[in-house]
Symmetry: C2
Subunit: 490 residues, 2 copies
């Protein structure tokens, strides 16, 4: 692939002085238009060592309003980042609506640096796969992703190393490993070719730039970004995006094939014996998880008043608070709502060996957000696939992922609502919203059935728990966690 590029391409200084100011002005204007349209913009600049990435980006940022972009220089992961999936640190750096993120090197060269040895001759399929999904999640939600690869030949790289070694002031641009990288140039060439070929998607295409001439590099790079932005802005302005809420009746009438939640119960003695047994086992297992550096993620979904809080407490009281976090999930705040909806869940992933308990979760996307009419048909259409891919990424990373649906019937919910309202200490637990949700029980029931069907994957199966009897539900939850963790540790 690389051989097809003509590395002798140049822009003369006179032409550069002619072209650049106009290009820079367009770039600046497009940035403001993207802001006005709430487009998140991601510029990836990657390439060979010393190919002039920051020289080019320097010209980019001079054209831009510094209030609207963030500059990220990718580097080796820090301690927090090492404890999370590879893409975590890049997910966290994705821009909010209307902002621009500039990546001076990116998940591409970091993936190659961290996961590929040159003698492998290729990049791990799984990583390429996850990168493609990552970018698709972003562009599907409206982000513009522009990827530039700065290409120079081995000889040119060698020349630049010699030149830069003679400039002591610029020493901070080099790290002393330049010669090693030069030595590996030929080994990495096919790897980069493969990576670019496999991640050159219609929604996030690559532009390979012949980067021997500085003027040409700047002009070519900025043009690529300007054209991508012009295209995206035109699309956005001319495409009619249906903003009406997704219809509430799921495509086909699904039957709520759930167990009768009143069928199971435990006596007080059975309950206390089992609670103690599984509780103590969980205390032991947390140490094994910690030692093996396996993260545990437990998702509690269920009807209002199904007993999520009580079940969570029976779990967390057995765990050391240093390694256990509870993430209560409500409506996104201002910042979260300007990110991809999965952003905050990526952010809240636990460290390796730690436990994260989600009190409600990303499934709000296909439940409450849908009932409230906050999601468009396209968003709902994508959500199941995105959620499955998110969970698959988390499980591939090594997490034990347990998902509960706490199931009660309508009568039991009514009993609990009334109980709570009559108990002064627990009144705060029940709100008008709970009553409102209750009045939409049938709508929710259909959505729950669809959700359970479409997201019950091999990687992340659902466990539906009959919860009319709280004792049974709590024990069943703990037992499931114990079994899943034991299986993972085997």
């Amino acid at each position: 692939m690389f051989e097809q590029y003509d590395l002798t391409r140049k822009v003369s200084d006179e032409d550069y002085k002619q072209i650049l100011p106009d290009l820079a002005e367009r770039f600046g204007r497009l940035q403001r238009e993207a802001r006005d349209l709430d487009l998140p913009v991601i510029i990836v600049a990657d390439g060979w060592n010393l190919s002039g990435i920051s020289t080019m980006l320097h010209q980019f940022v001079l054209a831009l309003d510094p209030r609207l972009y963030t500059y990220h220089a990718a580097s080796a992961p820090n301690r927090e980042e090492e404890e999370r999936p590879f893409l975590w640190r890049f997910w966290l750096r994705t821009p909010t609506a209307g902002r621009m993120a500039i990546f001076d090197r990116s998940w591409y060269s970091r993936m190659v640096a961290e996961q590929v040895r040159p003698e492998d001759g290729g990049a791990p399929e799984r990583s390429l796969h996850e990168i493609v999904r990552f970018e698709r999640h972003l562009t599907d939600a409206g982000a513009v992703v522009v990827k530039l690869f700065l290409h120079i030949s081995r000889d040119e790289q060698a020349r630049r190393i010699e030149r830069i070694k003679k400039q002591p002031a610029a020493a901070f641009l080099i790290d002393g490993h330049e010669d090693v990288r030069l030595e590996h140039y030929d080994l990495y060439l096919p790897i980069f070719e493969e990576v670019i070929a496999k991640t050159d998607t219609p929604n996030a295409p690559w532009t390979v730039i012949e980067a021997h001439d500085r003027n040409f590099t700047v002009v070519r790079g900025m043009s690529a970004v300007v054209h991508a932005l012009e295209h995206a802005i035109r699309e956005r302005r001319t495409t009619v995006v249906p903003r009406y809420p997704a219809p509430l009746q799921p495509p086909s009438e699904k039957r709520l094939r759930l167990p009768d939640p009143s069928k199971h119960s435990l006596s007080k003695d059975e309950y206390q014996e089992a609670l103690k047994r599984y509780g103590e086992r969980i205390t032991e297992l947390q140490y094994s998880l910690y030692r093996e550096r396996l993260p545990l993620i437990v998702v509690y979904e269920g009807w209002d008043a199904a007993g999520k809080g009580g079940a969570i407490m029976r779990l967390t009281r057995r765990l050391n608070p240093r390694i256990c976090q509870v993430e209560p999930v409500g409506p996104p705040n201002e910042d979260e709502s300007r990110h991809h909806y999965l952003w905050r869940f990526w952010r809240d992933l636990p460290k390796k060996g730690h436990v994260a308990v989600f009190d409600r979760s990303w499934y709000g996307r296909v439940l409450v957000e849908r009932v409230e009419g906050l999601s468009s048909p396209a968003e709902v259409g994508r959500a199941y696939g995105e959620i499955n891919e998110f969970e698959e990424a988390v499980v591939d990373w090594g997490a034990v992922l347990v998902k509960f649906w706490l199931h009660i019937d309508r009568e039991e919910q009514l009993r609990r609502f009334i109980d709570r309202e009559e108990d002064r200490e627990r009144q705060w637990k029940i709100t008008p919203e709970d009553w409102r949700n209750r009045s939409r029980w049938d709508i929710y029931a259909a959505l729950v059935a669809e959700m359970l069907e479409r997201t019950d994957t091999k990687a992340a199966p659902w466990t539906v728990i009959s919860s009319n009897d709280k004792r049974y539900a709590r024990v069943e939850g703990l037992q499931t966690i114990v079994e899943r963790v034991e299986r993972a540790l085997r």
Copy 2:
């Protein structure tokens, strides 16, 4: 000090079962009340190695609503944190209004671990000083800070080490350095005594807990927090806090003793020669700053249309974008406004050896926020002192801090507003708000004079730049930065 504590204190299991449920319920209720009152709550639990901090905190969190607290286990700084002032990572973890932050070990044991060698026999005065200021900034703004120190004797620590070594499952609680720490117990004893004595302030007092008995530790610790919360909530409910805006006329009529901004100018040739000279010098100096790991912080304040943007661009075009960040400061977003107002500026401090340029800054607190009536008299009264202390902390850390006031006169501002409105490409730069601010020129002028007088400190002096002539202003700015950096590097 420690010898005065009776380490034999105990709570029997029966008493514990009697007392704890009620205490825990009060704790939970107070947490919700603190949320309703928008109180930020900080619980610091520190103490000797193996003194039972997380065992106690485990009982705390079981009493709490997990939606309203965040648990922070303090540890050695990561790479990002090492690049910032010591307190940076703790500032970042301060809770928003209505939330609770629980610190499982804190800035206290980290300060001792990172800055004190046992043979020093004491902690650095400066660090104690900064910790006291940090806590005062938080409590002055309404935070509740409760500090618990769990005290055990050397013999008890030795017993616990033996016991825990026999529990292989709990191995993750120890790190292998227990015996070394035990050896140093007697050396650290006077250090902790000194630290506690010097940071036991009325606004953030210490409670030392005799921690030999687990039941006693939990009950005593939770009682201390419950009482502190009850007290703070009562205070908040019964104290009439004047919420009217601070009066706009500063206490005494200050005269705007500023240079006539029309006095200085440069010819085009002088300008271009000087711009090039200082610009190139700055490019060189950035490498020296990087090598010496000195951060550079440049603050641009000034009248609307005084030329901040143009001046900033003349600076940043000379800097490598990898080590330079521009922070445009507007109104705080939702999250920022629920933190201490200095929180976002702590967050945005540059790394060592990097450059941060603030396009407007924390001085908004005493300018725009005051004019808009957003600050109470007490807040304005504290602001100057807090800003001076913030800047002193930053300079003590090693930063070169340069503060500019770009000064133009009223007529020049009018000329520029009109110019901008007539230039299609720059119309977006001028907003109705600019005109509104202009109509309050005299009010601003008095506030600017007061600000320049009260925050022109030895650590962080102001440089007022005559800016009617843009050329002069830009060169003057660059020259000042060059001189200040050269002095710092000497």
